[in-house]
């Protein structure tokens, strides 16, 4: 800030902006910290601050087989949906990324639309279609539904990575006699891999966390973790959920740290 006078007016502006920013950052981070602290309570309620500290609710969580079962289902569905999203999404991203045709732009809008449309409406629609064609709800219908709402993240991140790719690299490779497949394997794929991984990671997290689609496409045999937690919370405020939430928060922090290293996740989401 060269030559700017430190007037009262400038100071008031900076104080207000910095103040709100700090309040906002605290509002963002505080809830997670509160859950972490409350999960170690020795009491039976979610009182804050806790009357004492213990690991009893983690022991409780260790024995909560219903939650384990739901977590396992969610994990399996999320892994399949992510895999399917990568296979379908990377191909689609390659096709539409460098094309300026109308059909490419229309496909791009189509592939992105699940991000904006109410997922609950899609969940209901999918359930009605599956019941029309006689496909009962199962892990398969869950994987299909989740893939529809998760694939946009893979497409978007892969398209962004492809946009950064120097076209001259591909031309040089072709001039030097490399086949398209060889160029793809040795040049394109290594360069866009971090983008694909970042997209797959976000797709995985959003599938694992999905409620609106799962709500319609699961049954008792395919209980999903976020729905189990939601229904537990509707019934009673159980501290076990705080312990589980803490485990999920820690796992998310660890995964984000790894992803930041591998893919530069934060840069990707602000470009």
């Amino acid at each position: 800030m060269t030559g700017r006078k430190r007037t009262l007016e400038a100071i008031s502006f900076e104080l207000v902006m910095t103040g709100i920013a700090i309040i906002a950052l605290v509002i963002i981070i505080a809830p997670s910290l509160v859950v972490l602290i409350v999960s170690f309570t020795s009491g039976f309620s979610l009182r804050f601050p806790p009357p004492g500290y213990s690991l009893r609710w983690y022991a409780e969580l260790w024995n909560a087989w219903q939650l384990h079962f739901a977590a396992k289902n969610s994990l399996i569905v999320a892994l399949w949906a992510t895999g399917l999203s990568v296979v379908l999404g990377v191909g689609a991203a390659l096709a539409i990324s460098r094309s300026r045709t109308l059909s490419a732009r229309l496909l791009d809008s189509l592939f992105m639309s699940p991000l904006v449309l109410p997922a609950l409406a899609f969940g209901l629609a999918a359930l009605m279609l599956f019941s029309l064609v006689g496909l009962p709800v199962s892990p398969l219908t869950l994987v299909i539904g989740h893939t529809v709402v998760c694939v946009p993240y893979v497409v978007r991140n892969t398209v962004a990575a492809l946009a950064q790719l120097e076209p001259t690299l591909l031309e040089s490779s072709a001039v030097l006699g490399a086949s398209r497949l060889y160029t793809f394997r040795r040049i394109v794929l290594p360069l866009i891999r971090p983008g694909i991984i970042a997209g797959a990671f976000i797709a995985f997290m959003s599938s694992f966390d999905n409620v609106p689609v799962s709500l319609f496409l699961r049954d008792a045999a395919t209980d999903m973790l976020p729905i189990r937690m939601w229904q537990d919370l509707e019934g009673k405020l159980d501290v076990t959920i705080a312990a589980l939430s803490s485990v999920l928060i820690i796992a998310t922090v660890a995964l984000v740290a790894v992803m930041e290293r591998v893919t530069g996740l934060s840069r990707r989401l602000t470009n």
Binding site: M1, G3, R4, E9, A10, F13, M17, T18, I20, I23, A24, I27, I29, A30, P31, S32, V34, V35, S45, L46, F48, P49, A92, A95, I96, R98, T101, A104, L107, L110, P114, P118, L120, A121, F122, L124, A125, M128, T147, V148, V155, E171, S173, A174, T183, D209, V211, P212, F216, P226, M229, E234, S245, L248, I249, T252, L255, V256, E260, T270
Partner: protein, 287 residues
Amino acid sequence: MGRAPASRDVTSYGMGLAAPLALFFLAFFVAPLLQLLWLSLHNDTAALHWGLGQYLHFLTDPFSLRVLGSTLLLGAEVTATCLVLGFPIAWLYQRVGPRLQTIIILIVLLPLLTSVVVRTFAWIVILGRQGIINATLQSLGVIDTPLKLLYTQFGVVIALAQVQMPLMTLPLITALGRIDPNLDDASCSLGAGSWRTFFRVVLPLSLPGVIAGCTLTYAAAITAFITQSLIGGGQMLFMPMYLYQQASTLQNWPFASAISIIFLLAVLAVVSVFTTLGRLSRGYGGA
């Protein structure tokens, strides 16, 4: 040679690679939505009689209209809260060193990737009768009986604002990063104060980011089923829960379909208003 004609563009791939996903979307995204539309145009649950009965029912029923109205209002309140709180974060981000920048971005990012149920649960702990706010106020002697914060509009708005904050902040950080910092200095050295520079230079130039952020936040806030139902409780009904009740509890699929279509159209209308504003602002902010 002979493998590929010399003129062939080696930098792009054929549209054929998009075919699998296009077919997948046709079968499992477009077809279900078309079926939803088809069913919503029937007057009876057996889908034998065509008609606009479901829509007429919704549009003439004060209760349904109130649910729609409060949902759209909720979205506006959450979006405004996110904008007021999120903009200073993006502003601060541009003014601190790289290490603080990484910390800010990770603070903003983490909630985006943390489970929505977990984040909502945290707000139950904070806003509850024995939660932090009530405990603090009571120990300070400000209040005698706990305030009712959970199951109120205020609680839903603040919880949703926190849950959706990253969607607002990330585009704003991007937009502010694209503004030439010299403009800021130029405006100040020409005599405009910091406030005036902010409202006349920085804010208009960041409009594309503001609009992108508002679109994402609004769409996410009005469809945020979990947070709405857990923080709002049974007394506050918004469109997603209304839809779910009609479809699941009452098994009234045609009416649920009509609710879905009306909700879809409402979201699309809001998004296209934002998109149009974005296009208008681009001439402004693209500089």
